[in-house]
């Protein structure tokens, strides 16, 4: 069980990250250009990494950091693949 100060900070940070994810989803829905949507997806992945780390802090377990590492890697690969597809027309030559 965490200390009250830390628990309060984790609650506040979780709510803030959730609001940030909702705003990113709004840009993903709205985005006039395709690159806007890719940028919103990339920011959603980064927020997801932060949320997984916050959950790992809350439950006081070291098991979720591999999950966060995997999420960040998948987000990077997805962003690079989509951007290269928009630039070149194919992902792997």
């Amino acid at each position: 069980m965490n200390a009250p100060v830390l628990m309060w900070a984790l609650n506040l940070a979780s709510v803030a990250v959730a609001v940030a994810m909702v705003l990113c989803a709004w840009r993903l829905w709205l985005g006039p250009e395709t690159t806007d949507r890719i940028l919103a997806l990339d920011t959603l992945y980064i927020n997801m990494v932060a949320l997984v780390v916050l959950l790992g802090l809350r439950w006081n377990t070291a098991m979720l950091f591999e999950v966060a590492l995997l999420v960040s890697m998948l987000g990077f690969v997805g962003t690079v693949g989509l951007a290269r597809y928009l630039t070149r027309g194919d992902v792997v030559e």
């Binding site: 940030a20 940028l39 980064i46 990077f76």
Partner: protein
Amino acid sequence: MNLPVWIEWTAAGLVVIGAFFLLVAAIGLVRLPDFFMRLHAPTKASTLGVGGILLASMLLASAQGRPGVAELLISLFVFVTAPVSANLLAQAALHLRVRSQAPVHKDMDLS
């Protein structure tokens, strides 16, 4: 577990700062008027936000006697890959001729 008080307060402050910067990045992503301005907002503040939260996690892990290698790995990966993906997105936007609201110098006008 009984951690020292200053470690708890420092970790709480770092978590709140990180979440604040993530929220600022998302607000900038929604409110800025142009794709290239929107590209500027999250790629800086997201690394700062994730960096703050991971710093708090590293502090708590080292206070409990566990080496924070995974957190260090995540923060290194995020810091390295965020400029690369931003650069590739900017290249894609330039290739697609996404409209920009920035003022164009008369010698630079390609149209």
